[in-house]
């Protein structure tokens, strides 16, 4: 029997980027807010100090910052007629854990989605006709637009101090930036990071091929920055330990470096770490959340009542908690009915490695940051005519030099033996003269009727509840898209002067053991129609109006960019709706 705690105005489930943003916004509104976080408290100088944080074995190989699958995991299968099995070690994506969430270990690539990404089905149908889209592709419009989010993208970039070069200022195309981006109301708060040699060489080759390369927008800062909350960040030292690692140099934007120290000083904020929320509670009608139930590290069960519930865990855990709490109708792909679990998506990633003459090229690949790159956007979204190619979607491609950490940076040209003296010599000869893009091809992943989440019929978690099952595979559209982008990317690497170019296309079936990105999206998506979306445009549950669900679980499909900028902008957008509309008149913000 759960022990009941005193009621709060707001309970927040998960204290990562979106939970921190919402906690900050709602405590500013004067509400009494408690955040409940499954993992440990984490802080920059004590948990990832620069004296030992650059430890590839500890953080990359042994996954120190991530959830342990024995705490909870998912089952996985490619096709609906297969039996899913539990994921016992993380591979394709890395579920975060602990305060700061994915905001601790991200690469800090801080993109905005294209204006057309938000009205995708309408846009593609108008341009190519409905018949151009595959029958089982279930892409949707978001029910909100780029213009709705622009002020909130801006809010997040100024919170982080994002380093970049604007490509479109209020409709005016800017030299050196991304000419395809949506109009931004002001420049990036800090200039782009300085680029290492391989990136400038990539940009030069791209320019000569007629593209318009631009520096990747980076949350690893080019210079010291003070954000609007008075939080101070330092310049990046190009140590090359971003993704998988926390930053103890105060140079990567994270909840720890931009928000949490301000939040913890507020008397109307409190937090519980090492406490796992097991259920969102609802009243008898099922139409109103009454709070959450969580279990602490001693196994004690507690009930935290609240007027407003914010679900802001990692995307998959949001969906899992909705399914387990029986909120919203579970998605049924056969009947094509229901919403929770619908439109699960990921990313379509591939890479091309270039091997150069080591007497002429020294790239010093260890001079790196998570988002230091030169990219082109000619093949993203609908920036090009898809008519002749027979697929939709796309992505940016770029040389992003994220690091040359010793365990994973032993690339050798095709044909090299896999071990022994010849292998060792090849590693030595190629280490400094190989272009190994940290991102490479970063393609979209559109939604399909048979890619979804539901509860597994067989496997159970430590509380005896069903695990969540992921059914996910690549469809021809994404495979074609990836082949096209990979070839285009390889042309640029070749034009840089590579002796050998090794392409690694992304092919079906989807492999859950191969890391792509942690950009797992969907399952509790926004939309204009409650029959096909779990949330209205303000990320408010259609079924339970005092529940808001933040994070990439809201994406109806994934675009060809890194998601965090959009995830954070949505959180600010939802916070504004709660502050300006919901609190004045609690109830559904959109009539359905």
């Amino acid at each position: 029997m759960a022990r009941k705690l005193p009621k709060k105005d707001v309970v927040i489930v998960g204290l990562g980027w979106t939970g921190s943003i919402m906690a900050h916004e709602l405590t500013d509104e004067g509400l009494d807010v408690i955040a409940i976080e499954r993992g440990p408290w984490r802080d920059s100088p004590t948990d990832f100090p620069p004296s030992y944080m650059q430890d590839e074995l500890r953080y990359r190989v042994r996954h120190e910052l991530f959830l342990r699958p024995d705490q909870t995991t998912f089952t996985f299968r490619n096709k609906m007629d297969q039996t899913a099995l539990p994921i016992r070690t993380w591979g394709a994506f890395m579920p975060p854990n602990g305060v700061g969430g994915g905001g601790v270990h991200w690469n800090a690539e801080t993109f905005r989605f294209l204006p057309s990404d938000f009205v995708l089905r309408t846009h593609l149908t108008e341009r190519y006709g409905a018949a151009f889209l595959p029958d089982d592709m279930t892409i949707q419009d978001w029910g909100l637009t780029y213009d709705d989010l622009e002020p909130h993208y801006d809010q997040f970039e100024y919170l982080c101090g994002t380093s970049g070069t604007a490509g479109n200022l209020k409709g005016q195309i800017q030299e050196g930036g991304n000419p395809f981006e949506g109009p931004r109301s002001r420049p990036y708060p800090t200039p782009a990071q300085k680029q290492p040699f391989s990136n400038t060489l990539f940009a030069k080759a791209a320019r000569e091929l007629g593209y318009k390369p631009f520096p990747q927008p980076s949350g690893n800062l080019s210079q010291a920055y003070t954000n609007p909350l008075g939080m101070r960040l330092g310049p990046c030292t190009y140590c090359g330990f971003c993704e998988w690692f926390g930053c103890g140099n105060y140079s990567k934007a994270s909840p720890q470096t931009t928000l949490l120290p301000v939040l913890v000083r507020k008397s109307n904020f409190s937090a519980r770490d090492n406490s796992e929320v097991t259920r969102i509670n609802t009243d008898g009608s099922g139409k109103r959340a009454t709070g959450v139930t969580f279990v602490d590290s001693s196994g004690e069960e507690w009930e935290q009542p609240a007027d407003l519930v914010i679900l802001s865990a990692f995307s998959l855990f949001n969906v899992q908690l909705l399914l387990l709490s029986k909120i919203g109708e579970p998605y049924d792909p056969v009947a094509n009915k229901g919403v929770i679990g619908r439109n699960l998506t990921h990313q379509t990633i591939s890479s091309v490695n270039g091997f150069f003459d080591n007497k002429k090229f020294n790239f010093n690949p260890f001079i790196a940051s998570g988002a230091i790159g030169m990219c082109i956007d000619e093949f993203n979204g609908d920036n090009f005519d898809h008519g002749p190619h027979g697929f939709v979607g796309g992505g940016y491609v770029g040389q992003v030099q994220t690091g040359a950490r010793p365990i994973e940076s032993t690339l050798t040209p095709p044909g090299t033996p896999k071990w022994g003296a010849a292998w060792k010599n090849a590693v030595r000869d190629n280490y400094l003269s190989t272009v190994k893009p940290g991102t490479g091809v970063h393609g979209s992943f559109y939604a399909y009727r048979d890619v979804y989440c539901d509860l597994d019929p067989t496997y159970r978690d430590r509380f005896g509840r069903p695990l969540m099952r992921m059914t996910i595979d690549f469809h021809d559209n994404e495979v074609k898209q990836n082949a096209f982008l990979t070839d285009k990317f390889a042309e640029i690497i070749q034009a840089m002067g590579a002796n050998k170019v090794a392409k690694q296309y992304r092919v079906a079936p989807y492999d859950v053991t191969q890391y792509q990105t942690t950009h797992v999206n969907g399952g509790a998506i926004v939309g204009a129609d409650p029959k096909t979306s779990a949330l209205n445009r303000y990320l408010q549950s259609w079924d339970v109006p005092n529940l808001f669900v933040l994070g990439a679980s809201a994406f109806p499909q994934n675009a060809g960019y890194n998601p965090t900028g959009t995830v954070a902008a949505l959180a600010f957008f939802a916070a504004a709706a709660i502050r300006n509309q919901y609190l004045k008149n609690p109830g559904r913000l959109v009539d359905a």
């Binding site: 100088p45 100090p49 030992y52 008075g230 939080m231 101070r232 030292t237 105060y250």
Partner: protein
């Protein structure tokens, strides 16, 4: 109707509280009304300036003024008593005279003498009115029952009578007398520094018996494993290169473009000076800037000294990512060790401690970031710590005595027994 009833019951409650207080203090009803807002507010401010909450609260307990915190002295620990108005375990039953005698003269109600861990030697500069204002404020707090055994000193220091001799040697009783030759700001600063602020308690070196070495007034002192730096206008080790605005900003926010507060000073800023008025902080700065420093000019070690060579290499590997190759850091994030006077302190205790154990700078409303430095004690041996500190004390135009591996070794064993 409902409003009227609510007022009545509120009035009754207030009356009950008032009569309780009257019962407690009636024996010594002072001239001024102890419930007077002006009096209570003045007392609250003086209690902040005097940093009463620091010693009389167990850190992190959330129970201010209830006592129980052990105060480390060279002679042993003294536990700060409960100063909430609880009649039995706090000061509720004390007369105003008794309170005044304790705060300004170091005398307990039974006539025994207080140890100078309680800085009555400084508080004596306050007036009786000041002290009764503090009392008035303390009387508004919720009485908390918490019995504290104050004296945990070993023999022979546990004999309080010995304090009679000590008082005769070191205690100069008397209110602050303004110097008419000086500005009102200077006089206010001198009062705050020597009186409620009791800055000398940490920053003035002590004799073997724990009395102030008045000839080295505010020139820096070692205590509790830290070196409280020189805060005279000495341009190398003290505040000579600081503007008055720098000093005021440091006391208000804990940070300047050069340095940041950590350790006991972080606590002082957090509890006391960050809540003081800008006028008072400027007054403190005016006074400190008027104090002459020492007049010596040591020569820096030569750059080819083996410790300097090794120290520079360690510095580049371990320190320069944050503090920069030129030692300038990032303003208000990473201290400029090239410009920090604390780096050149006579006693390197603070430097050794920070390198061995790491440090967290203070968070304030104005500067919430609270950046921290990790511990290098597990990574660098005593000779390496000594070399890198010797290097930063003699690089970029600085000059200070070398740090030896023995210094670091001693500090390492001492710190092993201390909490953070």
């Amino acid at each position: 109707m409902r409003n009227a009833r609510r007022q009545t019951s509120a009035g009754r409650a207030a009356g009950a509280v008032a009569s309780l207080l009257v019962a407690v203090t009636s024996a010594t009803a002072a001239q001024s009304d102890p419930q007077d807002f002006t009096q209570v507010e003045r007392g609250r401010y003086l209690a902040i300036a005097s940093d009463c909450a620091s010693c009389h609260t167990v850190p992190g307990s959330g129970r201010p003024f209830v006592g129980g915190r052990p105060i480390e002295t060279p002679f042993g620990n003294i536990v700060a008593p409960n100063i909430t108005p609880d009649p039995e375990t706090g000061i509720g039953a004390w007369s105003d005279d008794a309170f005044d005698a304790a705060v300004r003269r170091g005398l307990r109600p039974n006539g025994a003498r207080l140890y100078p861990a309680m800085p009555f030697t400084a508080y004596t500069k306050m007036s009786r009115d000041d002290v009764l204002a503090i009392r008035a404020y303390l009387n508004t707090l919720e009485p908390v029952r918490n019995a504290v055994v104050a004296n945990t000193l070993p023999f022979p220091f546990n004999i309080r009578a010995a304090m009679r001799v000590w008082d005769a040697l070191y205690f100069k009783e008397g209110e602050y007398k303004p110097d008419p030759q000086k500005s009102p700001a200077w006089n206010r600063g001198a009062f705050l520094v020597d009186g409620p602020g009791h800055c000398g308690a940490c920053h003035t070196p002590k004799s073997l018996l724990g009395g102030d070495k008045t000839s080295e007034y505010l020139q820096g002192s070692t205590l509790q494993g830290w070196f409280a730096p020189d805060i005279t206008n000495d341009s190398r080790r003290g505040l000579g290169d600081w503007s008055a605005d720098d000093i005021a900003a440091y006391l208000r926010t804990g940070h300047t473009g050069i340095t940041a507060a950590t350790g006991p000073m972080a606590e002082e800023i957090s509890l006391a000076s960050s809540h003081m008025t800008d006028g008072d902080l400027q007054a403190i700065a005016t006074y400190l800037k008027s104090l002459p420093g020492r007049q010596d000019s040591p020569q820096p070690l030569r750059a080819d000294n083996p410790d300097m060579v090794a120290g520079q290499a360690i510095y580049r590997d371990q320190c320069s990512a944050c503090h920069g190759l030129e030692g300038k850091g990032v303003p208000r994030l990473f201290p400029s060790i090239a410009q920090s006077s604390s780096v050149r302190s006579t006693d390197p205790a603070t430097l050794i401690r920070i390198v061995l154990r790491g440090a967290r700078s203070v968070a304030t409303d104005a500067e919430p970031t609270s950046p921290g430095m990790p511990s290098y004690g597990w990574q660098l041996d005593d000779a390496q710590v000594a070399a890198v500190l010797t290097f930063i004390r003699n690089a970029w135009g600085a000059a200070a005595p070398a740090v030896s591996a023995q210094d670091v070794g001693r500090a390492r064993s001492d710190l092993a027994l201390r909490p953070d």
